[in-house]
């Protein structure tokens, strides 16, 4: 990594504080793993643990990627990604199981609907100028209701087994869904770091007028970000439905806090103070590690919330303070 391939790197980028703020969270992750390994070698230090941590977070990876799309172009938090994801998941299940569509056709239809939802979000926000939170919160609640309606408030399941292979087919010891999520984030990171598109996105996020004057088609980019966010949420929903063989419309709401937690925690990793795809990916697995370990130690269900909340505040506070001290 060269020093000049990052945005917003201060002059003294070699300084200790800087380094600290960049890798503090990673060091803490390692420490956590070692700690659990020492405390529970027989259960934690097994292939099963590894598989659980890395094989179970696909939904979160897709959801955080969708959230990042719009956050990076400066739209404050798209509250509809979770519902959109959930709607795609129930839609593919309902169309296949209740309406007897071909499952692949149903999957394409579900992704198309999610993408359209993203486009409508974008249209309302970008072209009509309605507040982002209002639009996405309203759209999210609306979709949740629709999802409950088409499923009659009950979980729908019964997707065919071969369809499940798009999520579960094992490669090495991990399901293919893991690689899909990682590939998505790597592509995202590549775009952000190395391409004009990524730079344009960051600038639109930082200052719309400056970007417009530099010839960036700001509104198109923002609209695109909303649409792609819808697309990613839709694909994620379809993969999640495939993995469980069905879905329940209300599930998506339980992702809201973890999505935000992972995305904001990502701002404390690798590129402190900035939303970044790889930091977010690491944050997802970091949180999964912490919670799994605590479960193995025998902690009860409440511990995951305490952990999510505590780690988020502490990590970002430390990162903020270290980051600030450098200057």
């Amino acid at each position: 990594m060269t020093t000049h391939d990052t945005l917003a790197v201060p002059a003294r980028s070699q300084s200790l504080g800087r380094f600290g703020s960049r890798f503090a969270a990673l060091a803490f992750w390692l420490l956590l793993a070692v700690l659990y390994g020492v405390l529970r070698p027989e259960t934690f230090l097994t292939a099963g643990t590894f598989q659980t941590i890395f094989g179970s977070q696909q939904a979160l990876v897709f959801l955080t990627a969708a959230l990042l799309c719009t956050i990076i172009v400066g739209e404050f938090v798209d509250m509809s990604v979770a519902s959109n994801f959930g709607f795609a998941a129930v839609l593919v299940a309902v169309l296949t199981v209740n309406e007897h569509w071909n499952v692949w056709l149903a999957a394409v239809a579900a992704v198309a609907v999610s993408t359209l939802v993203g486009l409508v979000n974008g249209w309302l926000t970008v072209l009509l100028g309605v507040n982002t939170i209002v639009v996405t919160l309203g759209m999210g609640t609306f979709l949740l209701g629709l999802g409950l309606w088409i499923t009659d408030l009950t979980p729908v399941s019964g997707l065919p087994y071969d369809f499940a292979q798009i999520a579960l087919h094992p490669i090495g010891s991990l399901p293919v869904g893991f690689y899909e999520g990682v590939a998505l984030m790597l592509v995202f990171a590549y775009v952000m770091r190395f391409t004009p598109l990524g730079r344009n996105m960051r600038f639109v996020g930082a200052n719309r007028e400056v970007s417009r004057l530099a010839g960036i088609r700001v509104n198109r980019l923002r609209l695109g970000a909303f649409t792609v966010a819808g697309l990613i949420a839709g694909v994620g929903g379809v993969v999640a439905a495939a993995a469980t063989g069905g879905f329940d419309a209300t599930v998506s709401q339980s992702y809201l806090l973890p999505i935000f937690a992972a995305t904001f925690l990502g701002t404390a990793i690798l590129e402190p103070g900035k939303f970044n795809p790889l930091g977010t990916l690491l944050a997802v697995y970091f949180l999964a590690t912490g919670i799994l370990g605590l479960q193995l130690l025998g902690a009860a269900g409440w511990v995951s919330s305490v952990f999510y909340g505590g780690v988020l505040v502490i990590a970002v506070t430390i990162s903020t303070l270290l980051h600030r001290r450098v200057f």
């Binding site: 408030l153 009950t154 979980p155 209300t250």
Partner: protein, 355 residues
């Protein structure tokens, strides 16, 4: 609320209700002993309740922990969080950790069919408890079912209402939509009303764990739509408070009697303090923990073959009449003394050759 009500001794189902109000005399235990328990020592069994939000699973979990402790088996609990994704994650975690066995509680097979399939394919015994047997996945060597008395509890509540109202009640039942089993339980209650009380009118108000905030509003609108309703049943304990909120909002708290199924300490405390609840049906969740442990040990050791013994989980109807004799402590709840004599752990241990 101080208006008191005693079970109407002259009501149509007085005898049946009186029977339901009594604690049982015995807990049933299987007769066959288990052999080869030594081979499962050190194994880890996963316990996956549909949600830890419902108090009864905590009681079962405690009993399981005690029971397995005696057998040298470790219990690992994983919260299903009330949704297929969480449940799948738990099942997958157990599968990749090569669990000795998996016990699911109140989770229908179809909710996470792929993950159930995967666990069974990996050779892990799966015990599906508190559920209806899935037609597409019948019991087999690696898949056992223990049916829950949820229907009995709802029927008990129905009986009490029929008796209390002298056979002409209007009832709202807040039915959980979290899976097919709760619907089946309420169906049983409806059948009981149809059979025993043709003059009764039952309204179903579907509610769900994930939409807690909607419960008060939908309850109060159900009451507004049916101004003569005198009884509101909450299917499980965790729905009592929002249900109560709905009754309050409709301004009907003085006129309506509340009931709950799946009663644990919370519901019984409300019963005792005469807060809204008039009757509560509960199941012996502690005993269920021992029964689950017994069944799983049979599956793990191969003692059972393809057939598990039948376990009957006792239920009891608590009312403002008999609640005075019930010790409302966590210790009492965990011992199972509300439902019958507390000697059953000994009997199980005897069967396991551990006493």
């Amino acid at each position: 609320d101080t208006s008191s009500s005693t079970t109407s001794a002259s009501g149509p189902l007085a005898g049946k209700v009186a029977q339901l109000e009594k604690a049982g005399d015995t807990y049933a235990a299987p007769s066959e002993p288990i052999s080869g328990l030594a081979q499962v020592k050190g194994a880890t069994v996963y316990y996956i309740p549909i949600t830890q939000q419902a108090p009864q699973f905590g009681v079962t979990e405690t009993a399981l922990k005690t029971a397995f402790g005696k057998a040298g088996v470790t219990l690992q609990t994983c919260n299903g969080n009330g949704n297929p994704t969480g449940i799948s994650a738990c099942l997958n975690q157990a599968t990749s950790a090569k669990a000795g066995a998996i016990i699911t509680d109140a989770i229908s097979y179809g909710l996470a069919a792929n993950s159930f399939d995967a666990a069974i394919a990996a050779g892990i015994p799966v015990l599906n408890t508190n559920q209806i047997e899935d037609a597409a996945h019948p019991r087999a060597a690696k898949l056992g079912y223990i049916y829950a008395p949820g229907d009995k509890m709802m029927v008990a509540a129905a009986d009490w209402i029929i008796n209390d109202s002298n056979g002409k009640a209007e009832v709202v039942i807040n039915q959980s939509t979290d899976g097919p089993a709760p619907a089946a339980y309420v169906d049983a209650a409806e059948a009981e009303f149809a059979k025993e009380c043709p003059a009764c009118k039952v309204t179903i108000n579907p509610i769900s764990t994930a939409n807690f905030s909607l419960i008060p509003a939908s309850t109060s609108s159900a009451l507004l739509k049916n101004p003569n309703v005198k009884y509101v049943v909450s299917e499980f304990d965790q729905f009592v408070q929002p249900t109560l909120g709905g009754v309050q909002q409709a301004g009907r708290i003085a006129a309506v009697k509340g009931l709950t199924g799946g009663a644990q300490l919370t519901g019984l405390q409300m019963l005792k303090t005469k807060n809204f609840i008039y009757a509560a049906a509960g199941q012996a969740s502690a005993y269920q923990g021992w029964a689950d442990a017994d069944a799983v040990l049979r599956m793990m050791t191969g003692t059972a073959g393809d057939e598990l013994p039948e376990y009957t989980i006792p239920i009891r109807l608590f009312t403002r009449d008999n609640i005075g004799d019930v010790a409302l402590t966590q210790a009492a709840e965990a011992s199972g003394e509300w439902y019958g004599p507390t000697g059953y752990p000994e009997e199980f241990l005897k069967l396991w050759g551990l006493s």
